[in-house]
């Protein structure tokens, strides 16, 4: 919740927290680009080698639609990715920090 700036009642019990995660899972994990601003959406599309629709049509909704069409994985894949986190969480890890982390632990 904190990582994704989602407010939650301090006194929430586990069940309530689980429901909150469930409600926000799609926008935070499966389709994180839903929360991006137009700059980041455009930068992503350019980086992925797509033509960015020219200025007038580049409103947020159409950009989100375009990003959605070229996103790397489906919702189901995002779901199962968190069952094998160790396989990808180190993919762009800072090399020096990996040494320090292994040393510390």
């Amino acid at each position: 919740m904190s990582d994704n700036d989602i407010p939650f009642p301090k006194a929430a019990d586990r069940k309530e927290l689980q429901n909150l995660v469930k409600d926000n899972w799609q926008s935070a994990v499966q389709e994180p680009y839903q929360k991006w601003d137009t700059d980041r959406l455009q930068a992503y599309l350019k980086d992925a080698g797509h033509d960015v629709a020219s200025d007038a049509q580049a409103n947020k909704d159409s950009l989100v639609k375009q990003v959605k069409g070229s996103w790397y994985e489906s919702g189901d894949q995002a779901q199962s990715a968190y069952e094998s986190l160790k396989d990808w969480v180190f993919d762009r890890y800072v090399l020096f920090c990996a040494i320090a982390t292994c040393t510390t632990h």
């Binding site: 904190s2 990582d3 994704n4 935070a28 994180p32 601003d37 980041r40 930068a43 992503y44 980086d47 992925a48 790397y72 994985e73 995002a78 990715a81 968190y82 069952e83 986190l85 160790k86 396989d87 990808w88 969480v89 180190f90 993919d91 762009r92 890890y93 800072v94 090399l95 020096f96 920090c97 990996a98 040494i99 320090a100 982390t101 292994c102 040393t103 510390t104 632990h105």
Partner: protein
């Protein structure tokens, strides 16, 4: 990275965190500047005010995106590199291309844009104005392949040529990163003796660990070269088989002995540097830090180059049995030789990437957090000069065939 993955569950459990979410322990070792740099590189807006917990949250949220980018880079690299190769060499060539392309990604990741540009200058490669980072990296990768002779003709011609061309690329790379470290050092003007002495001590301990890991990698690759040589020999079905195995495995153990004695020597060297830096503790400490980090990278490099001749001689002794093994073993032998060379390059490259990232990290931290006094610039440039002198003497030895 492999070690981190293998121990992931254990550490997550020990830290009292669920393995299904990237816990705080994963980012404890990251400095604020590491976090900021990562966010910049991945096009993620840095949270306003740069509060550490906000930056960790941003890296965590975007870790999966980072993995996608890593994979799509690797995929496009291997797609562009898959057009070579014929008949019996196809398998070996595919493996070589894969290893080379993923390694190059790692190498260039560790470089700043200005490192890459300096490397282009050094190798007389023209860069179009206004190139973006991914275009720079693509160009660097393409030229890297050309400069290191990353195709099967190079593997076929001789192990010696390919080893020496690698050495020359590494030495040019080393001098580029050496120069940038020196300029960073000379630009900053704050004193930080005690911090520097701490980093010298930690550099030393990392060095002793890295020495032994280089040793064990040397042993692994020597013994795998030995066992693949043995399997080639046994396929030929002649009496040469057992002879081949004996000689290859004795070469393997020679490789191990020499690598491990190198490791223990570097360990001793590094820790004596550390202890003197520690006792001194005052103004000289920061120059020890610089010395230690440059000495370390040159030692890592020379450990790698010390290991590679053993691989080469394993390959060449295997080659003398090639005649006896005749035509049936021919194809298998070629694959084994190419494989041994690929491995040698891989380990050399890994050692280099490690040393480079360490050097870069210290230089960066030095600039941001501590900085060095201007009058240390001359001692830095002296140690850079001595590092590059020792690199070139290693290179000269390799060229003469003494190593």
């Amino acid at each position: 990275m492999r070690s981190a993955r293998e121990n992931y569950e254990t550490v997550a459990k020990k830290s009292g965190e669920a393995g299904a979410y990237p816990g705080d322990w994963l980012y404890e070792a990251w400095s604020n500047s590491d976090l900021k740099k990562w966010l910049d590189q991945h096009g993620v807006p840095v949270p306003q005010g740069g509060a550490r917990n906000k930056m960790v949250a941003a890296v965590r949220r975007n870790a999966r995106l980072g993995s996608f980018r890593a994979n799509s880079l690797a995929a496009s690299a291997s797609a562009s590199g898959s057009s070579a190769a014929s008949s019996g060499y196809a398998a070996a060539s595919g493996a070589a291309a894969n290893a080379a392309s993923s390694l190059n990604d790692k190498v260039f990741d560790a470089w700043s844009d200005s490192n890459i540009k300096a490397w282009f200058d050094k190798n007389n490669i023209k860069v179009p104005q206004g190139s973006r980072r991914n275009e720079l990296v693509a160009l660097a990768r393409k030229n890297w392949a050309k400069l290191t002779g990353d195709d099967l003709n190079a593997y076929g011609s001789s192990a010696y040529n390919s080893a020496s061309s690698i050495a020359s690329v590494y030495s040019s790379v080393a001098s580029v990163s050496g120069n940038s470290a020196a300029s960073v050092a000379s630009k900053s003007a704050v004193s930080a003796a005690s911090v520097a002495s701490k980093s010298a001590a930690s550099a030393a301990s990392v060095a002793s660990r890295s020495g032994s890991s280089v040793a064990s990698r040397g042993y692994d690759s020597a013994s795998s070269a030995a066992s693949s040589a043995a399997s080639v020999a046994s396929k030929s079905g002649k009496s040469a088989a057992s002879r081949g195995y004996d000689s290859a495995s004795s070469l393997g153990s020679v490789g191990y002995d020499s690598a491990s004695s190198a490791a223990s020597k570097y360990g001793t060297d590094a820790s004596s540097v550390a202890s003197s830096a520690y006792t001194d503790g005052s103004s000289a400490a920061s120059s020890y830090a610089t010395d230690a980090s440059s000495a370390m990278s040159s030692k890592a490099r020379s450990a790698a180059s010390a290991a590679s001749p053993h691989l080469r001689s394993a390959a060449s002794s295997a080659s003398s049995y090639y005649g006896a093994a005749t035509s049936s073993a021919g194809n298998e032998f070629a694959k084994a030789t190419a494989n041994a060379i690929v491995q040698a390059r891989y380990y050399a490259n890994e050692a280099y990437v490690y040393a480079n990232s360490l050097a870069g990290h210290y230089a960066y931290e030095a600039q941001v957090a501590l900085g060095l006094k201007t009058n240390y610039a001359s001692s830095v440039s002296r140690s850079v000069a001595s590092a590059s002198a020792s690199a070139s003497s290693v290179m000269a030895k390799i060229t003469k065939g003494e190593l």
